[in-house]
Assembly symmetry: C2
Homo-oligomer: 215 residues x 2
């Protein structure tokens, strides 16, 4: 079975997105600054077709998180297009333009069926309506022996953590304070007993806390 | 007016103490591991009369937090002795033995009056029943031109943060996962607008996030 890896950026006060997320403001109010550490580094910029970027700890950590990934799972909220049935006019195709940075099959958790959506560059969005375990199984099959990465958002991450399905977790804590929003660690107590720390490294922009599942 | 400085250690999942705090288990279940980073370093050990200890980033950060402190404020829960009126049989004298590591006047927030308690080594516990601002004023007077430090616990920290009274805040995030307990950042939204980051440094044991008040 493919390993399921989670990587998320969190504000010091515990939020992975600000309040009032919307199509115009997908990371919520104030949430735009969360990912500055990633936007700045070379291994983020290259898959988005951008040149240059910083090297160092943040780049090393991000590059590692992108290695050996054969498929992606994400929540409906991360894929976007608002809640409820899919609009046809125009159809929502994600936030990432014609050539999304995944370059793998992506399995989107949703309550609303939709035909697969093939993008440029190897990204195909599949829409999974039968739950998080089914999405993981399909992603694992599609990963071709590589790992599956859980892209987010907060709700999907909480569901997979609560179900004990995350094998490797890295939380990138940034010195941003959001005050409110989507909390990552709002989980039933006990989930954490299955995890042990494997690494803490930091730059002046982010502290990267990594864990692996032992249970 | 003396500056009020806050330093607290927090688990990655946001707790400054585990669940079910008690006299036998003052940091709650699982909370004992929170402070390992501090117990290991020289600048923590020396004021407790212990020899040796690690040097490096964690030691530098802790030493800095102990510099120029003229008085301490703490919540009743941190001072201990259980909730409610003070017991006389035997009187609770804190967790720290006859020579507590503060060596300054300490102002304990409580609803229950009590005479000052003079310990060895310059620590005097004063019990303040008229609120957080009164405690800060008395501590500032006693500090003799130095800073006041807020020792904790979570409830006292939240009250001072919500009231905008903390001038300098450092949160030491450790790779511990507690799953439940006393959350630090459970505050009315908006408090964070008055703070800007000043520093992030880390060792493999803790990431130290520092802020100052700008509002």
């Amino acid at each position: 079975m493919a390993r399921l890896r989670l990587g998320l950026t969190m504000s010091l006060d515990g939020y992975v997105a600000g309040p009032h997320q919307s199509t115009d403001n997908p990371l919520g109010e104030g949430g735009g600054g969360l990912h500055d550490w990633a936007f700045a580094v070379r291994s983020f910029r290259a898959p988005h077709g951008l040149r240059g970027g910083e090297t160092g700890i943040d780049d090393d950590v991000l590059a590692e998180s992108l290695e050996n990934v054969g498929a992606t799972v994400m929540g409906r909220n991360m894929f976007g297009g608002g809640p409820g049935p899919w609009s046809e006019d125009p159809p929502w195709r994600g936030w990432w333009g014609d050539d999304p940075p995944f370059h793998t099959p992506v399995f989107v958790l949703t309550h609303h069926p939709r035909e697969p959506l093939e993008m440029e560059g190897g990204t195909i969005f599949h829409f999974v309506t039968d739950g998080i375990e089914a999405a993981l199984e399909r992603a694992a099959d599609a990963a071709g022996g590589k790992d599956v990465t859980l892209g987010g958002g907060a709700e999907a991450a909480r569901q997979y953590l609560a179900a004990g399905l995350i094998d490797d977790m890295e939380v990138h804590v940034v010195p941003v304070l959001l005050g409110s929003g989507e909390r990552l660690f709002d989980l039933p107590a006990g989930w954490q007993d299955s995890y042990e720390r494997t690494r803490l490294v930091a730059s002046p922009a982010a502290a990267h806390f990594r864990y692996r599942r032992i249970g």
